[in-house]
Amino acid sequence: MTKIYTVLLADDDPDYLFQVAYYLRKAGFEVMAVESQAEAEQVIARMKPDIAIFDLMMESDDSGFILCYKLKRKYPEVPVILATAVSRETGITFGLSGGQDREWIRADLYLEKGVRPEQFELEIRKLLKI
């Protein structure tokens, strides 16, 4: 019996959440789709996903970073993808004071939100090594 992988997906845009969850479920993943940092924290307290995808900005400008930190502190082996809609060119950092703070936010991948669902799936499979 092949293993079914669980994806924890957090994003406050309900349409984006619906579309990505729909696509991943069709691709055979089990998806826990939540709309806020708070709900994502509740899930992390209850169970261990195989991989997590966090939107960067939800209730707080740093929600994605905070969730990444909390998840990795509890389950360091679970890969984390941070999805960002902010283009790199603006060079704006949200809330973090500098290089030192970033030490503990080791996301495995940063993905821009316009990316095609197929590419998303590819990156997930790469990180899960499947």
Binding site: D12, D13, T90
Partner: protein, 382 residues
């Protein structure tokens, strides 16, 4: 206490030690500067030595003699100008021909201190120079910060516009690839959501136009006698389809004066935003109360509702750009997050204040107070 570096370039050792002695214990203070300035004196006997010290130490102020053994003072000045260093330069010179004076002035020297100078003369010049330097730096800092703030605004804005575009594109691709089957019925909610996201983008763009208008257009020609009763009726009328849908009642009361001297567009913005919010955040069957009151000194616009209200944390974020309150009660309420920040900008332009009182589940009351005398004395923009 802050310390400024002064480099004195003069081939006469007496002059150099004189400057060091006079300015060694000198303080400059000025009411708006938050700290006292003292001075650290550096010395150079030639232009070449001067340039070397400039490159290495980056002094804040340069006292430059023109007649030097090697390269002349004006050449040092030219060097500083070419390198675009943030250094204020004063020429101390006993040979001030018109040509030299003009050239030095053109190259950015801001003062001339003719030799021999008394300690008082030197101190007076240095005091002026220090204040100028301070003002230049503060202005530059504010410009840079202004740019940063604009960048932040633009980046949040591009995020707010990209999100609905990505969502709509996602739904269209699902349809293009028939991901939910061949029947159009399966895509009813995808189509509905796309239309809603388009509506929200349209609202955002309209609000943005208001925002830029308020920020950049401040034309005195638009001032006229504005009839407040009409303005209130128009605001209520604009929002009436939505109000009917939610069965909201309006109570309006305009007293004290018929007209005020203002730009009608500004007051439309204030009333439309406050009244529209009062309906949006209201409970079905609720009431919106709009009152306008004029006294000799000020007029007051108050808009109150019997809606979902907010707690203190939510109220504190209210006037920030793109800030929207997100909780279970506001889940289905759309908005750009710019409305109240625009209202606040307009109120500020009229030297007014806006207050909010609110309690969760009981409703909110917004009060705008504008001083009447200030209306002829409007700020000219942000």
């Amino acid at each position: 206490m802050a310390q400024l570096k002064i480099l004195v370039v003069d081939d006469e050792p007496g002059i150099r030690s004189g400057v060091a002695r006079i300015l060694g214990n000198f303080h400059v203070t000025y009411p708006f500067m938050d700290e006292d300035y003292t001075f650290n004196i550096l010395e150079a006997a030639t232009g070449e030595e001067g340039i070397e010290i400039i490159d290495r130490e980056m002094p804040d102020i340069l006292l430059l003699d023109n007649k030097l053994p090697g390269i002349q003072g004006v050449e040092v000045l030219e060097y500083v100008r070419k390198k675009n260093y943030d250094i204020v330069v004063a020429m101390i010179t006993s040979y001030a021909s018109i040509d030299v004076a003009v050239k030095a002035h053109n190259d950015g020297a801001i003062d001339f201190i003719p030799k021999p100078f008394t300690p008082q003369e030197l101190k007076a010049s240095i005091e002026q120079i220090t204040k100028q330097q301070y003002l230049r730096r503060i202005t530059h800092k504010l410009k840079v910060e202004g740019r940063k703030v604009r960048f932040q605004f633009l980046s949040v804005l591009s995020h707010e516009l990209k999100a609905p575009l990505n969502a709509i594109e996602g739904y269209l691709r699902m349809m293009q690839e028939r991901q939910m089957g061949d029947s159009l019925d399966e895509y009813a909610s995808a189509i509905e959501r796309s239309l809603q996201r388009i509506e929200s983008m349209r609202n955002l763009i309209m609000d943005l136009l208001d925002f830029t208008k308020v920020s950049f257009e401040r034309q005195m020609e638009k001032m006229q006698n504005v009839n407040l009763k009409e303005l209130v009726s128009m605001a209520v009328g604009t929002v009436s389809p939505y109000a009917i849908h939610k069965d909201i009642q309006f109570v309006t009361d305009v007293k004290g004066c018929e007209t005020i001297w203002a730009d009608p567009n500004d007051f439309e913005i204030i009333l439309n935003n406050l009244v529209s919010n009062a309906v949006k955040y209201n409970k079905p069957g609720g009431t919106v109360t709009v009152t306008v009151d004029c006294t000799e000194n000020e007029f007051t616009i108050a808009v109150a509702d019997t809606g979902i209200g907010m707690n203190n944390d939510e109220r504190d974020m209210l006037f920030e750009e793109f800030s929207r309150i997100r909780n279970d009660k506001t889940r289905n309420i759309s908005g750009s997050g710019l409305g109240l920040s625009i209202v606040k900008k307009v109120v500020d332009l009229y030297h007014g204040v806006i207050n909010v009182e609110s309690a969760p589940d009981r409703g909110s009351a917004f009060t705008v107070i504008i001083p009447r005398s200030q209306v002829s004395n409007l700020k000219t923009g942000i």
